[in-house]
């Protein structure tokens, strides 16, 4: 069971980091916003993995459903396909890597552990009709918003680029 949770956490975290790297390297603001939506969805999925249902719902409803949706609309409106780099050089990656290593080493040495909720209670959450209805309604809301966004973009942009 621990292996399953650990594997799921590593998979979700690695894909979240990869899509975050996609935000940095893409030259298009719209794709950066879409990568951001993927990253945020995966962070919400990690909340779901640990059994923090209310956090999962709040992140999906408020953050992914409202804030990032408006960011995608804004990025589609002010779409830029150029990225020359700002005032800092690429050598700033080194202190950032040192920071990440320091955080990991410090938290390993504290030997602090997180206990995920058991798989049985996750299954219990999804088997309850009310909770299942909540998840279905949230998914339907997200899909409706995304379809509306795509139709708005097609209306403004004329075609998909």
């Amino acid at each position: 069971m621990v292996g399953t949770y650990l594997g799921a956490l590593i998979a979700l975290g690695v894909v979240a980091v990869l899509s975050a790297i996609g935000i940095t390297i893409t030259r298009d603001n719209l794709y950066a916003a879409i990568y951001l939506a993927i990253t945020t969805g995966l962070v919400g999925a990690i909340y779901g993995l640990f059994g923090i249902t209310y956090g999962f719902i709040l992140i999906y409803l408020v953050f992914v459903g409202a804030t990032i949706t408006i960011t995608i609309v804004l990025a589609a409106t002010y779409r830029r396909v150029e990225f020359r780099g700002g005032g800092v050089g690429k050598s700033w990656v080194i202190p950032m890597l040192l920071f990440v290593i320091a955080i990991i080493v410090a938290s390993v040495w504290t030997n602090y552990s997180v206990t995920p909720v058991s798989g049985q209670s996750l299954v219990g959450f999804l088997s309850s009709p009310n909770d299942l209805l909540l998840v279905v309604l949230l998914s339907a809301l997200l899909m409706t918003i995304m379809i509306g966004l795509i139709m708005y973009y097609l209306e403004v942009g004329g075609r998909w680029r």
Partner: protein
């Protein structure tokens, strides 16, 4: 049934640093806004181990963080749209402290 918190903190710090780097190398304000949201994702991730200590307090902090960040982003989006209305641009170079260049341009044109 336990996972070391170093894993969660590691992913959170990586996301935070990617957000910093993306914001520092950004050319327009939309990319800065996206980078800020990425940093808030890292904060949400770093909150997870707190749920193992005191879930009520952690949930309160999560609600405050989500609502604060959402309000902050709405304010920033409004500011970006207002800047575009005034300057006709959302580039980072357009931001000047106190808007002196805009005042100078307005006084010069009249």
């Amino acid at each position: 049934m336990e996972i070391n918190a170093a894993m969660v903190y590691g992913f959170a710090s990586i996301l935070l640093m990617i957000g910093y780097y993306s914001a520092l190398r950004a050319n327009d304000l939309i990319r800065v806004l996206i980078s800020l949201e990425l940093m808030f994702n890292a904060i949400f991730l770093a909150l997870i181990p707190l749920f193992a200590v005191n879930s009520i307090v952690a949930f309160g902090i999560l609600i405050v963080t989500i609502l604060t960040s959402s309000t902050e982003f709405m304010t920033l989006i409004t500011a970006i749209m207002a800047l575009d209305r005034v300057r006709k641009s959302v580039r980072v170079e357009e931001i000047k402290a106190g808007g002196e260049a805009y005042v100078e341009a307005k006084s010069g044109s009249t």
